[in-house]
Symmetry: none
Subunit: 234 residues, 2 copies
């Protein structure tokens, strides 16, 4: 492993554990502490800046970026909808989890098999309902979900534990009007504009999931950042 990667790993861990807070030691201090050149220190810091952990200001120092609820797209591992999956202190109430036919999911995933394990959940953050989600997972992979307590956790964690490694996905973001049932569940007015995220998930080349998520636009929306703004934009 390159030195700067090791150093970056070291610093990242320290930040995540809370051992590093507020301000980072200066570059010369880090150079001496780790016995490397300043360029190596800077390379590590550069990496952590692009990952969103650090923010450097000329003349002032390098600072740990406080954790945010809503982070930029480019920092997310699973991008777009990870916004939902990873948002902290989130609670999901499972409305239904069953095995059934799902024509639409089969069509979207390009599969002949129409039997899926379907999980329907309401998702909330800080006591507010923000999303209604229906995930259709292919069989047999999805069967691991039938006996699992996924009220809190991620479907992907359950799949991972069952040996299904989600590697990629496609999200399509659109907008729809709330029908009466959805309006009731999400606590909004009928006909109101909602964000719709359709997701197709893959394990290697195999499609494993089709997911529809309906979001309250005033509770949550998607943020995408592109390019660089000298750390000021967010």
């Amino acid at each position: 492993m390159p030195l700067w990667v090791q150093l970056a790993d070291e610093l990242r861990s320290a930040i995540r554990d809370g051992r590093l807070r507020h301000r980072l030691p200066s570059e010369p201090e880090l150079r001496d502490a780790y016995g490397v050149s300043r360029a190596t220190v800077r390379e590590a810091i550069r990496q952590l800046r692009t990952e969103g952990y650090l923010d450097a200001r000329q003349g002032r120092g390098t600072f740990v970026v406080p954790k945010r609820q809503f982070e930029g797209y480019h920092q997310q591992r699973f991008s777009l909808a990870a916004r939902l999956a990873d948002v902290g202190k989130e609670v999901a109430s499972v409305l239904a989890i069953e095995r059934r036919e799902d024509e639409r999911a089969a069509a979207r995933l390009g599969l002949e098999e129409r039997s899926f394990v379907v999980v329907r959940r309401l998702r909330g953050v800080e006591g507010e309902v923000v999303a209604l989600e229906e995930a259709s997972v292919v069989v047999p992979e999805g069967e691991a979900l039938l006996g699992s307590p996924i009220h809190q956790g991620s479907i992907y964690e359950v799949l991972e534990a069952a040996g299904v490694h989600v590697t990629a996905g496609i999200d399509e973001v659109s907008a729809v009007s709330a029908d009466p049932v959805v309006a009731e569940l999400l606590g909004g007015a009928e006909g109101r504009a909602l964000i719709l995220v359709e997701r197709r998930t893959f394990a290697g080349a195999r499609p494993v999931e089709y997911r529809r998520t309906l979001l309250q636009p005033d509770r949550m929306h998607f943020v995408a950042q592109w390019g660089r703004t000298d750390g000021e934009a967010l």
Copy 2:
């Protein structure tokens, strides 16, 4: 201007003009050609890599990334809304282009100055109206737009030609209901769900544009791809 910025500008122009294609001269060659150190060359190349212009491969060389019409989100230079900006054979009809106050744009961009050049356009693809867009560009940068024919082209191209280099931005995607005016313009029903994209654009650290785009969900939506699917997914 730092040397590496000048060099990056130089190379970027060369790429856009087509003077640089396929493969870049090697780092030692660039170092000698421009009379700088290799670190400076690498810094410039690093910048253009993050901007999506270049791709470097150890042992092989540094290559100009070919322009693509439709790409997954993660490969996009300007990501999300680039889908709109770059969609082929697109036509925009300019409803208004004027200099005026825009409180909201000023607030969103965090500027005291409230005077903007505001461009309001309807955008269509293949004869169908798909989007209504209002871009508020800061002055004095935006003044270049006042005399420009932007019916076809991109606002960013005009800005670029005027020496304003857009380097970054943030898109926020949400959903709203169509009000009567918007419904009329977009040819849909009042109250219908539309996709709203709010964009903040930056040239370096300076905010240069606030843009609101309303999209017909059945005509166009956003696609984001994450991870890898052995090239099959899209």
